[in-house]
Amino acid sequence: MRLCRALVCALVLALPAVAIAQPPAQQPPPAQGEFVPLSQVPPNEQIPAFTLVAVAYGFVWVVLIGYVWTVSQRLQKVERELSNLDRRGA
C-alpha cells in the first residue's frame, strides 16, 4: 500500500517534467511584424513599385486639394453670411 502511494506520488511529481520534455505538437506560427526580404515575398503579393509611387503621389494631391476646397467652402459660407447681415443691418 505504501509502495503504491509512493508510485502515485512519483508519477504526479514527474508529470510536469514529462510535459516539458514533450516536443511541441506543431511549429509555432511565424512571427508577425518582422522584416521579410523582398525576394521572399510570394510573387502574387508583390506590388509594382510604380503603382505604389503613383498611389502615394495621387493621394497627396487628393488630400491637399480636398483640404483647400473644404477651407474655401467654409470661408465663402461665413463671408456670404456676414455680408448678408451687413446688408440687412445697413
Partner: protein, 218 residues
C-alpha cells in the same frame, strides 16, 4: 486674398514640377523606384511634427493669455497636423510594403506617430462637438500632443525599428537632398498659406458670432 491665391497657384506649380525634379534624382541602390515616395513622405512627416508644435505653443499661449487669436492659430495648426499626419501615415505604409515587405509594424516611431494623429483627431472632434469650454480642454490636449513630438523624433535612435534613423537626411547627397528640400519648401509654403486662410476663417466666424450675440442682446 489675391496674394493667398497667387501663393496657392505657386504651390500648385511646384507640385506639378515635383515629379520631374524627383525623377531626375538618382535611384537609391537597394529600394529603387519606390524610394521616391520618400520625397513626399519625409517633408509631410516633418510638417506633421511642426504643426503639432505650433498648435501646442499657441494652445499654451491661449491657456495663459486667454486671447482668442492664439486659439484660432492653435486650431488651424491642429487641422494641418491632421492633414500632414494623414499623408505621412498613408505614404509610409505604401513605401514600407515594398521596402520591408510589410504595410505596418508596431514599433515606437510608427505607433507614436499614429498616437499623435489620434490626439489631433480627438482635438478636432472635441472642438467640433465639445460645446462650451472645449477650447480650453482642446488646448490641454494639444499640449499633450506637442509633448509627444520629441519622443517621436528620437524614437528611431533609441528603440529597435525598421524605420531609418534621423541621421539619414543630413547625410544625403545633393542630388537627393535638392529634390527633398524642394518638396519640403512646397509643403511649407502650403502650410503657411493654409494657416493664414484657416485663421481668417476663425476670425470671420468670431465676427459672425459677435454679430448674432449683439442682435440677441441689443
Amino acid at each position: 486674398m489675391s496674394r493667398i491665391k497667387a501663393i496657392l497657384v505657386m504651390v500648385a506649380a511646384m507640385f506639378v514640377a515635383a515629379p520631374w525634379i524627383i525623377n531626375a534624382a538618382p535611384y537609391e541602390s537597394t529600394m529603387g523606384l519606390v524610394q521616391k515616395i520618400f520625397y513626399f513622405h519625409m517633408p509631410s512627416a516633418f510638417l506633421f511634427l511642426i504643426s503639432a508644435i505650433v498648435s501646442g505653443v499657441y494652445s499654451a499661449m491661449f491657456l495663459f493669455g486667454k486671447k482668442p487669436p492664439s486659439d484660432w492659430k492653435a486650431l488651424a495648426a491642429a487641422e494641418l497636423a491632421l492633414v500632414f499626419g494623414t499623408i505621412t501615415l498613408v505614404t509610409g505604409p505604401l513605401w514600407a510594403r515594398k521596402a520591408w515587405g510589410l504595410w505596418w509594424v508596431w514599433d515606437a516611431r510608427l505607433t507614436s506617430s499614429l498616437l499623435l494623429w489620434m490626439i489631433f483627431a480627438a482635438y478636432l472632434l472635441l472642438r467640433r462637438y465639445g460645446g462650451p469650454g472645449s477650447d480650453k480642454l482642446g488646448a490641454g490636449m494639444a499640449l499633450f500632443g506637442m509633448a509627444n513630438v520629441p519622443f517621436i523624433y528620437v524614437s528611431v535612435n533609441y528603440w529597435r525599428t525598421l524605420h531609418p534613423q534621423t541621421s539619414v537626411v543630413p547625410t544625403l547627397p545633393v542630388s537627393m537632398g535638392g529634390p527633398l528640400w524642394f518638396c519640403f519648401a512646397a509643403l511649407l509654403l502650403f502650410f503657411l498659406t493654409m494657416m493664414s486662410l484657416r485663421v481668417r476663417l476663425e476670425r470671420q466666424r468670431a465676427a459672425l458670432e459677435r454679430y448674432y450675440l449683439s442682435e440677441d442682446n441689443p
